[in-house]
Amino acid sequence: MRAARLLLIAAVVSLGTAFAQQGRLEVAIDTAPVGLDPHIVTAFSSFAVIGQIYDGLLEVNAGLELEPALATSWTVSDDGLTYVFQLRDGVTFHNGRAFTADDVVYSFDRIMNPETGSPQASRFNEVASAVATGPLEVTFTLNVPFAPFLSNLTNLTVVPREVVEANGGSLQQVAVGTGPFMLKEIVPDTYVLLVANPNYYRHGEPKVAEVRYNIVPEASTRAAGIRTGTYHIIPDVDPATAETLKNVRGVTLMGVQDLSYTLLGLNVSRAPFNDPRVREAINYAIDRAEIVEAVYFGNAQPGGPLSPGLTAWATDTANFPCYASNPDKARELLAQAGYPNGFHAGLITFGTIQVVSDVAQVLQAQLARAGIVLDVNVAEFGAFVQAWRNSDFDTFVSLNGGATDPDGYLFRTFVTGGSTNVFKFSDPAVDELLQLGRTTTAFEDRVNIYDHLQKRLACTGPISHVAYGTLFSAVTDNVVGFQQLPSRGLRYLREVELR
């Protein structure tokens, strides 16, 4: 008997090692990744896949803290202008070549090259140079102290030069990184298949042999698929579907505070939105608690310019007087601005994200109570993007992505001429604070600056921030070790096991 038990234990142990990378993790996502070039793409669907294949110098963990990835340690000079990174030894790309400091410099140069057209480039505008100061040491020199620099480095994805050059400069269809999984197959509109990287630098990871991203456009189909066990993980479950999956046996619903937010954007180059009193009136007319209930099934927090998830930075909404819903006050402000009977305006939004079009509908009803009549146009997404990009709107409702540093939320959105300042907002005082927030390095001082900014922007800024939802994912019970990240990334699939 005793011998038999020993044998059994031995068998289990050997199973444990022999099948170290076992099983295929089935993930269901709503849209196919549109291109895989980590320096070019912006879509969430692309990052969900790319995040498994490539590494940055640093990465963000579930607590929104920076952790080493390809860089193991770093030092900052006293003037805050020189950063020296020690790089991880023994890392190889999926093609077998060893990773060195030159790859970091090459990747940085590729991002900064205007020919690449990388949306990441503006994050590194304050960097004067990046130099390989050793085989595994990189030195960045900045023009001015730049507080968000480290958090921006999570976007410095390291790619191998020879692969870029062999593919005519584009990485949209190939992917060779240093990450836990390797790209095996893309079947358009069907799936993207990744296999475990046997030489991954974190020993014992990844724990599954394959990850398959199934492209499943309908939310109800993804939900049906997780009920039946066809899929193991659905990241980003919408609030209504989450509600239906709450008490399903064999399925666990996980939620974290989202960094993304729904918003009502106002074009301040058009009347009446050029009048700060009108913008304030709109905030008073909005009942955020009602939206949280109606659209998010209670699973959201009304928030200001920063996510409540950034606990160190976000100013409590109790400090924004206009967040207390008050239609009478709204009418009063409108009357002061010369619109005693309210006004008519257009609102453009899109239908591919349920939360967005729902927020638009509730906002329309709420603003109507204050005399603001919005003509809602639920445009096809392509048309929406174009109107957005060209500032061709009175107002719009959308979902904006977040960041781990306040600068990532605020700078390009509110600075005069900023790349996502489609509102044409311009306020010298805001510009000054935004610059100050970037170049100040002392944490307490920064918190103070961003507190000022949030209070200034919340009520009379070009955006009425609506709510920060709970980001849900659904996971079957045989999945162990999955972590939901507030950034919507799936970086920790490498730690996931299938039982």
């Binding site: 949306p119 109800s220 009920r227 039946t228 392509g382 048309a383 174009q386 990009r389």
Partner: protein, 316 residues
Amino acid sequence: MFQYTLRRLLDLVFVLLGVSVLVFLMVRFIPGDAVAIMLGANTDITPERVDALRRQIGLDLPVYEQYWNWLTSALRGDLGTSIWTGTPVSQEILARLPATFEITFLALVLALVLSFPLGVLAARARGTSGDVVVRVIAIIGLTLPSFWVGVLLLYFFSIYLPAWPAIGYVPFTSDPWGNLARVALPTVAVSLPMVAGLTRILRSSLLEVLSSDYVRTARAKGVGERGMLYKHALRNAMIPMVTVIGVQLGYLLSGVVVIEQVFAIPGVGRLMVGAINERNYPLLQGVVLIVTGVFVLINLLVDLTYAWIDPRVEYS
């Protein structure tokens, strides 16, 4: 008949040419811009970069030049390359055709198999409760949107028959049973309206034929009711059926476009919807041209069959 066929083939060329012009213009009338969408919503792209991309795709040329370039290479079998993936458009379409064709074909077969007995039953039992039942079922089938039926079927199977592989698609050649299990639900969902439509058409045209002069004459001569139905009426009643099948295939394919979204099937429909959303001009043009070409061919076959069944149609 030969001359007629030849002339119709010639017409086909003109139709396809007309289709190509319309497809091309249509795609450009859709608001939104491939370049704007390619570059995504949250980017810091310079106008120079936009222009460079525009040149690369050929969008900087005058429209008629773009059309001419596209048409001439299409005639050489080159439909261009997909903006996103860089793979040849023809290759992408070929990869998607099997799933769409399989479901469309199976749905057509299912519709014919079910509607013939139902239509005959209703016509024979005209005015009785059997007739009413068939007609009511037909109307219900017609009025249920296939995406709704699809979602209902999916919910039902995921809750009560979780072992049934209902989502996705595997090729028949690699897993015959898996293939059939997966296409079964979408096939049923899209064929319902066609079953209903064909049943109604067959019923009414059967009734019409049965009341026509020559059938009345035959009846007066003492030909039995059953013999009448099968020998005389059915063949003539098939004429409107055949005309309608071509039209109905159009509805069927539209249904498949939607149902592919519901069941996550990688077919032409999703390729098309995706291409519209991405403003993937070469891909969209290619898909629409190919799908349309197939349609025109089917319609031609329908017309030829029609001429063959109904000798009264002159070939002039």
